[in-house]
């Protein structure tokens, strides 16, 4: 494999009818890493993932996936990659078992029957194996799709919002499974909108409007945003929020239950702006850590300024 990288691409660009949807994406994902792919809706996550597994041909750029060229050796990539699509893409009119069996056949798996049986057991769907996939609930469809894309024991998993609509328990199980796989050396690239999931990744990439805006461990991304945050507790937070919004140096005012997060990109300006409010007795201000969510929303806001 190419010096320890499961994915190494540079300058990947994709246009749809002239519009650049992914712009010069450069990514490196080490083997055995869990790589989180984040970004607002329509930012180009799905498009990027499709280019990585040969479903879309990049207009520009080059790179490798599992050591195979993403443009010329897509057949080799497909054989070794497990791709879970964002939209349910198994056959609704086939049963659970038939779907898994079909997938296993597509990959020409040996010991197909036992592999399918094991997958059914692990899923906990063994006694519903003959149920039509289309009649499963949304969360169960996700779990089935996930099982299907891992069936052929791929070296690299590309998961496009695998836990959307999945309950907390199943999500925790899923992440435990992902970490176990990573420990075995399997690489996982996962797109998500959930911040708690982002925090569970080894590395993150954040894209918006097709541009890669931030990269690194969750901690690095957080620090890189340079965001200063204060949390406020007390009375009449809603009114306070309304007053604070739009003041110089304040970029975000977000209520979290009984706490208000107030953040700004320039710590000194922020402190100066909030100084008069801190004197008010009915509330308590404490400096706090910005959350990943704060950081991402900040990134998103600043790019909108730059690109629109």
């Amino acid at each position: 494999m190419s010096n320890g990288y499961a994915i190494a691409v540079e300058g990947l660009t994709k246009r749809f009818s002239g519009r650049e949807v992914v712009k010069r994406l450069t990514l490196e994902v080490r083997e055995g890493e869990i790589f989180g792919f984040l970004g607002p809706n329509g930012s180009g996550k799905t498009t990027s993932i499709r280019m990585l597994c040969g479903l879309l041909t990049p207009d520009e750029g080059r790179g490798t996936c599992l050591g195979y060229d993403v443009i010329r050796e897509t057949a080799d990539i497909k054989r070794r990659v497990g791709y879970m699509t964002q939209r349910f893409s198994l056959y609704e009119d086939l049963s659970i078992r038939e779907n898994l069996d079909f997938v296993a056949r597509m990959y020409g798996m040996r010991g197909r029957r036992t592999a399918v049986e094991n997958a059914l057991e692990r899923l906990g769907l063994a006694n519903r194996r003959e149920q039509l996939a289309g009649t499963l609930s949304g969360g169960w469809k996700q779990r089935l799709a996930l099982a299907a894309c891992m069936l052929h024991e791929p070296r690299l998993l590309l998961l496009d919002e695998p836990t959307a609509g999945v309950d907390p328990k199943a999500r925790r199980d899923f992440w435990e499974q992902i970490h176990a796989l990573a420990a075995e050396g399997i690489t996982v690239l996962v797109s998500t909108h959930y911040m708690d999931e982002a925090e569970r990744c080894h590395q993150l990439a954040y894209i918006a409007y097709g541009n890669l805006l931030a990269r690194g461990t969750p901690q690095e991304v957080l620090e890189g945003s340079g965001l200063a945050t204060w949390s406020v507790e007390g009375e009449d937070l809603y009114e306070l929020a309304a007053e604070l919004r739009g003041l110089a140096g304040i970029t975000q005012v977000v209520p979290f239950g009984n706490i208000l997060h107030v953040s700004g990109a320039d710590p000194e300006l922020l402190e100066a702006t909030i100084a008069p409010f801190r004197k008010q007795a009915q509330r308590r201000w404490t400096p706090s850590e910005a959350s990943l969510e704060d950081a991402f929303i900040h990134l998103m806001d600043s790019t909108r300024d730059n690109y629109q």
Binding site: R50, C53, G54, L55, L56, T57, T74, A75, K78, R79, V81, Y83, T85, R87, F88, S89, L90, Y91, E92, V103, M106, Y107, G108, A148
Partner: protein, 379 residues
């Protein structure tokens, strides 16, 4: 205006929306214009229920002026075009069997001698009557020709022969379908058209359905190859086709009493070739169409000329040359000839071969397009 009644503005908005969508869907729009035009052209110009210039073989054992006049008379009638001069009955039979000619005209050896003696000799006209409509007018004309065609030759002492009854007889033999039963022609034709319609439509939807339901994305992410997908989608329909063909053949035999003169195995083998040709058209449409609606329209677009130009609805030889030329490209045209040949004429492999290879060539060309057009990516 009341709240839950019919709203004029809502209705107008609906109409406007439909128009916008219609305009966006270029193919649908093109089809809506194209289909009536196509029908107009086909019905207006291509279809001729009174086929003329039908290829005719002449087997003449008598080279007298009378015989020549008669043959010239045939040509002058506009219905007959002498394409072959043959020397033996076997040769003539072969031409009919192959469908090379529609008629064989046999003038006996002693034609002029008997004619001059007033013995009223007979000219034999054998017609390929598998499609009765193709020959009926020609036959009607020739039956009346004996009254007038020799008028100028019968001079002097022979002038007396001009009187009634006519100086010679015309005997017509309707070959393969002596009673001129139209079902003999229609039933095999129906088999072809039904197979065309269902096969193309089913496979036409096959890939577009995957694309519409989103399952294509997963399928494309697996290592599966284009040809595997396409052939995989074709094969199940071959079974369906055999069920359909079986039903139609059984009905043809039981209800209409259509004979099976040739070999059933050969017929079934030809069905396979024909069905494969249609399925490959369907799968090609499937790779070209953006959605199921477009696939349906393409099916219709192919189906229409198939019925009109194949000789199913109207006699093939009644169409102008360009229409025949188009017809030759269609698998249904060849299949109709094969089925009529096997059922009614008892054709064997050698006789149907000229109609089998065009279908095979068709499959090769169309499948090549399908494989090339099959999108391996979502681009």
């Amino acid at each position: 205006m009341s709240g839950n009644g019919f709203s004029g503005s809502r209705f107008a908005a609906m109409v406007a929306k439909e128009f916008i969508q219609m305009r966006r869907d270029r193919l649908t729009f093109a089809m809506m214009v194209g289909i009536p035009l196509l029908q107009l052209i086909l019905f207006g110009f291509a279809i001729n229920a009174d086929p003329k210039n039908l290829p005719t073989a002449v087997l003449s054992a008598d080279d007298s002026p009378f015989a020549r006049s008669f043959i010239a008379g045939l040509a002058n009638s506009g219905y007959f075009r002498v394409t072959h001069r043959v020397a033996s009955e076997a040769e003539a039979d072969r031409l009919l069997e192959l469908g090379e000619t529609q008629f064989v005209v046999t003038i006996p050896e002693d034609f002029s001698r008997k004619l001059q003696r007033g013995e009223r000799p007979a000219v034999l006209i054998e017609a390929d009557a598998t499609d009765p409509a193709a020959t009926s007018n020609a036959v009607a004309t020739v039956l009346r020709m004996n009254e007038t065609v020799l008028e100028r030759d019968l001079t002097g002492s022979l002038a007396r022969l001009r009187s009634q009854p006519p100086p010679f007889e015309v005997q017509v033999q309707r070959r393969y379908n002596p009673e001129g039963i139209t079902q003999y022609n229609i039933v095999p034709g129906l088999m072809g058209t039904i197979l065309t319609m269902t096969m193309i439509m089913m496979t036409g939807l096959a890939i577009t359905r995957e694309r519409e339901r989103g399952t294509m994305e997963h399928l494309l992410a697996t290592p599966v190859k284009p040809l595997e997908v396409m052939i995989g989608k074709i094969v199940p329909y071959i079974l369906v086709a055999y069920i359909q063909a079986g039903l139609i053949l059984a009905a043809a035999w039981v209800i209409f009493g259509v004979p099976l003169s040739g070999s059933l195995a050969l017929l079934l083998a030809s069905v396979l070739v024909f069905v494969t040709a249609n399925l490959s058209v369907g799968i090609t449409f499937s790779t070209l169409a953006k959605n199921q609606m477009q696939a349906m329209q393409m099916t219709f677009f192919f189906f229409l000329p198939s019925i009109l130009l194949s000789g199913f609805m109207f006699p093939f030889r009644g169409m102008p040359e360009w229409a025949q030329w188009l017809g030759e490209l269609l698998p249904l045209t060849h299949f109709l000839r094969v089925v009529r040949g096997i059922l009614l004429k008892g054709n064997g492999v050698a006789e149907i071969l000229p109609n089998l290879w065009p279908m095979l060539a068709f499959i090769a060309v169309v499948m090549t397009i399908a494989v090339r057009r099959y999108r391996r990516t979502l681009d």
